[in-house]
Amino acid sequence: MSGFLEIRGLSARLAGTGQRLLRSVDISLPAGSVRGLVGESGAGKSMIGKAVLGVLPKAVEIVEGEILLDEQDLLKVPPAERRRLIGAKAALIPQDPLTALNPSRRIGPQITDRLVDILGWEKARAASRALEVLVEVSIPEPERVMRLYPHELSGGMRQRILIASAFAAEPKLIVADEPTTALDVTVQKQILKLISQLQARHGTALLFVTHDLGVVSKVCDTLSVLYAGKVVEDTTVQRFFAAPQHPYSQALLAATPRHTDPAASLQPVPQAVIDAAMAEVAADDAAWRPQGGAHG
């Protein structure tokens, strides 16, 4: 059974240099389930989210692979069609609530614009839908908030609005890119609970990009651990936290702070583990023969 989102053998590299950024990534996400993409900075976790939403920077070129969204390969349809497809079926919850909203426009139109312009809804319908989702993310006095500017709201409120905006068009897939990294822990907990609730209620598939294994253990069903653009472990949350299989995953889990067990946490990743992971990646590259679209 194939998932709502199926990434198969996705490889990307830096244009002009051939440096590989993603290494034959396979990811399967069934409708209504939550997958965490975990890794350290530069591991390529955000890049996968960007590839799915079709917003990769120009310097990154996809060399091979498929991104199937609802059984359609996004890499095979023309750009305009791809934009429409992604706009109708997927949405993003961005990392930084401070910069993700336009500071010089009111909240209301920032939610409704997408519904009107991309999905072709009537204005009145878009406005009532916006009110509906604002109520759903527990924003008090939603009519008033629609007329406010972003700077008049706290960081947590702004993140709620971005979540409302992501769910407004009833997408079947949401990519959340480190959505709580900029927030205080207490606010983070509320926001994560809210995302989980909405996801379950709407049966949305959620691709959750994060560096925090603690967050993964609370929010996700399955996870992919990335190292240097390669998926080193793909498993369920239950199995991962009981017994991670790959040495790098084990080291990552041991490095994560855990105040309930200080002795067993915050262990530095042993150099041998990093060396072994790098060797694995190098062996992978040596065996790799790009299929199409590659020059030399």
């Binding site: 830096l14 002009g16 240099t17 440096q19």
Partner: protein, 283 residues
């Protein structure tokens, strides 16, 4: 990443070399003018008036870029004009840079009353239309090379002051400035050894830009006959004269214009190129 940087550096290389080459030619022409000029810059010969450039019919040997309506050699006058342009670029550019940057650094770093006074003066200064201001100043100071340079400095220091102040203000908020304080540096030392190196690339880029601007201002003043006595060749003066005979002898106008254009462009490009080549952060 490595190759991305390499790409920038290669392009910076071409930019730096091309603009550097033109500027080297420009400086050489100015310094060696008496030695390399094919003719006497002031020699008038009405028999030779409005000769076309060497490759056109009716030209005379030895007058490569033709002659003007008084029979003076255009190439020779461009070479001598480079002397004035170079003097203006160097002296006016450096003086403007020193005064403006120093005031900008002080205002941006020490803030307080020094900033209030300097910023107010800059605001008032910027309210004058620069060309009218220059003409007014020349009227007061009298014509001549030193008056022109003085006028440029008096008008343009604000350009440095404003930009350098803003950049200093930005840098002052960075934690490395706080860490200099924690390290026990004096305020002056922090300004000179911590902030200045970070503002310097901006200053260098502005300086080369200003050198080009100074040449243009001199040309404008020459154009309205307010610069240097008419027996000295200047590019602006040549352009002003060439304008009256554009239909009979376009070369009198066009060649000094080309010299002016490439020199000003090269200054700006040279500054950018230097920054890309030598700034450790971009490199």
């Amino acid at each position: 990443m490595l190759d991305g940087r390499g790409l920038i550096r290669r392009r910076a290389g071409a930019r730096l070399w091309l603009s550097g080459l033109w500027l080297a030619l420009f400086v050489l022409a100015a310094v060696l003018a008496p030695l390399i000029s094919p003719q006497d810059p002031l020699a008038q010969d009405l028999m030779l008036e409005r000769l076309p450039p060497a490759w056109m019919a009716g030209s005379e040997p030895g007058y490569w870029l033709g002659t003007d309506s008084l029979g003076r050699d255009v190439l020779t006058r461009i070479i001598y004009g480079a002397q004035v342009a170079l003097a203006v670029a160097l002296v006016a550019g450096l003086a403007t840079c020193l005064i403006g940057s120093a005031l900008g650094l002080v205002a941006g770093f020490y803030r307080g009353w020094a900033d209030r006074i300097i910023s107010r003066i800059v605001d008032i200064w910027m309210a004058f239309p620069p060309v009218l201001f220059a003409i007014l100043l020349i009227a007061v100071l009298g014509t001549g090379l030193s008056s022109v340079i003085l006028a440029i400095v008096i008008i343009d220091w604000t350009r440095f002051c404003r930009v350098v102040r803003a950049e200093t203000l930005n840098q002052s908020k960075m934690d490395y400035v706080h860490s200099a304080k924690v390290a026990g540096f004096t305020r002056l030392r922090t300004l000179l050894s911590e902030i200045l190196p970070n503002v310097l690339p901006t200053i260098v880029a502005l300086l080369t830009l200003e050198m080009g601007i100074a040449i243009i201002v001199e040309a404008i003043l020459s154009f309205v006959n307010l610069s240097i006595s008419t027996d000295q060749s200047t590019w602006g003066g040549m352009i002003a004269e060439g304008r009256t005979s554009i239909h009979q002898a376009w070369w009198v106008l066009v060649f000094p214009l080309i010299a002016l254009f490439f020199t000003v462009l090269s200054f700006a490009q040279f500054g950018e190129g230097l920054r890309e080549r030598f700034d450790p952060v971009l490199r």
